[in-house]
Amino acid sequence: MSPVFFWLASALMLLFGAAVIMNRNPIASALSLVVSFLGLAALFMSLDAFFIGIIQVLVYAGAVMVLFLFIIMLLDLRAEERRKINLVAFAGGVAVAVIFFGQLCLVIGHLRQAKQSFPALPLNHPDDVRSVGLLLFGNYNLPFQIIAVLILVATIGVIVLSKRELR
């Protein structure tokens, strides 16, 4: 895939990722996050991982963020928009981000593997749905089943907790 596409998608992602924390309006933040997810999905697809890219859109952009919007829409947004920027906290946040970025550059600079370019992807398009399935139900079957049980327990827990609230 052409590098122009890569830069475009990553610029989109980073730009709207920044917009998520810069926006004062929570709805605008949530929508920026959606666009950022779409950029991420585009990056996955440029790596021929269509399945993961589409799932990214379907689950995160299409379902999780709709739920987020649903909740945010029910909040009182005016209070959030009125809130002043705390300068000390802002400076602290920027400092942490800068330090983290510097550290990241340092580590990547020292890593030997990061310096060599990745081998080119095989040209024949793999059936990625099948490979993901084989990986999940072959190599990682046990962790996968455990996660499934965990999620089931969490779901039942939520139901039990919300029922208790009602009484």
Binding site: F50, I55, G62, V66, L69, F70, D128
Partner: protein, 372 residues
């Protein structure tokens, strides 16, 4: 011409053709059909003034929408208010990209993008369609649109689950998500709605009809809910929400919501046709001397004018099937009353979700024990 340039030019032609020659006229004429059929069902005549039998009514409607004042209320959130109609229209049209609407024409496959996760792409883009409605409801900054937006978001999430689960039996059978492969499978083994057609003597195929029919019913009902059609048109609910999410919209911006709804209906029907009714496949009864009676498969693979005619015939068959489904959409709309909100949620979570889940197990059992 290089292969890339050829691909680009044909894709562009296909996109322009499908959007401007097929989808947009089909949208406007499905509005006309909606009005005429609803009138006939209610013992009226419907629009019959503009042109012969009122056939130019869509043009008159479009002129009216363009000429109306485009009013932006003072209390709305301007940027999102303008963004919402676009978000409602774009996903509905984007979905058609992966649908195989014909076999081949001049050797070019009649599908815009044949990606290997076809159906998931449809679901992903369709799930983005809800943003248009939610943002419209929120940015309008008034009660009824807001309620419409909230309803749309929760309804969409509830029915997307059963939508996704309902098609899994098909993937179990075909083994692939690519829509063209699903069509190929149906041509060889009979349509998904009636798998026994391919091999009427095979008991397993008859057994397979049960889960396939269940998934067809669940999928169709979920498509109704996804496209906000009655009996699930709670986000709009003209009687209780005064139009719901598009209450504050006028002129072309309102028209975009309107057209987006119908475009979503058309793409939804196209998906149902592709998954369950064999897409562009229509065998003709044929008789020729040495072979006797048999079913003739028509597609664009023949040489010369026969191939072109076959390709055009396939495209026509596909859109004829879509039109038939659209008529059913309209028919249902003018028959049923609207569900109450709690009934809608109950139906989605307690019934369809479970039915689809159990259906997967039934289909999996049959597929596992079916002799190859």
């Amino acid at each position: 011409m290089s292969a890339t340039a050829f691909l680009l030019v044909t894709s562009l032609l296909k996109i322009l053709g499908i959007v401007f020659v097929v989808i947009l006229p089909m949208v406007s004429y499905s509005v006309y059909a909606e009005r005429r059929v609803s009138a006939l069902i209610q013992d009226r005549l419907g629009p019959n003034r503009v042109g012969p039998a009122g056939l130019f009514q869509p043009i008159a409607d479009a002129m009216k929408f363009i000429l109306k004042e485009d009013f932006t209320p003072a209390h709305v959130n301007k940027f999102y208010y303008w963004l919402a109609p676009c978000l409602a229209m774009v996903p509905a049209i984007m979905t058609i990209a992966v649908v195989p609407f014909g076999s081949t024409l001049f050797g070019v496959p009649m599908v815009i993008a044949d990606i290997n996760v076809g159906v998931l792409y449809v679901f992903a883009i369709a799930s983005l369609g809800v943003y248009g409605i939610v943002i419209a409801g929120w940015s309008s900054n008034s009660k009824y649109p807001f309620l419409g937006g909230v309803r749309a978001s929760s309804q969409m999430i509830s029915y997307e689950l059963s939508l996704g689960l309902a098609v899994i039996p098909i993937f179990l059978l075909v083994g692939q998500l690519r829509l063209t492969s699903i069509v190929r499978y149906q041509i060889e083994n009979g349509w998904m709605i009636a798998p026994f057609l391919g091999d009427p003597t095979n008991v397993w195929k008859w057994l397979l009809t049960i889960p396939m029919f269940i998934s067809f019913v669940v999928f169709t009902i979920a498509i109704f809910a996804e496209t906000n059609r009655l009996p699930f048109d709670l986000p709009e609910a003209e009687q209780e929400l005064a139009g719901g999410y598009h209450t504050e919209y006028s002129s072309m911006k309102f028209a975009l919501f309107f057209l987006g709804e119908y475009a979503a209906m058309i793409t939804g029907s196209a998906i149902i046709v592709t998954l369950f009714f064999g897409a562009w496949h229509l065998p003709l009864p044929w008789w020729d001397h040495p072979h006797g009676f048999h079913w003739l498969l028509i597609d664009g693979s023949l040489g010369g004018w026969r191939g072109i005619l076959g390709g055009l015939f396939n495209i026509f068959v596909f859109f004829a099937k879509v039109a038939a489904l659209l008529l059913i959409f309209i028919w249902v709309r003018w028959t049923l009353p609207r569900f109450r909100y709690d009934q809608l949620m109950r139906l989605g979570w307690v019934f369809f979700f479970e039915i689809a889940l159990v259906n997967i197990f039934i289909a999996a059992l049959i597929v596992a024990y079916m002799p190859k």
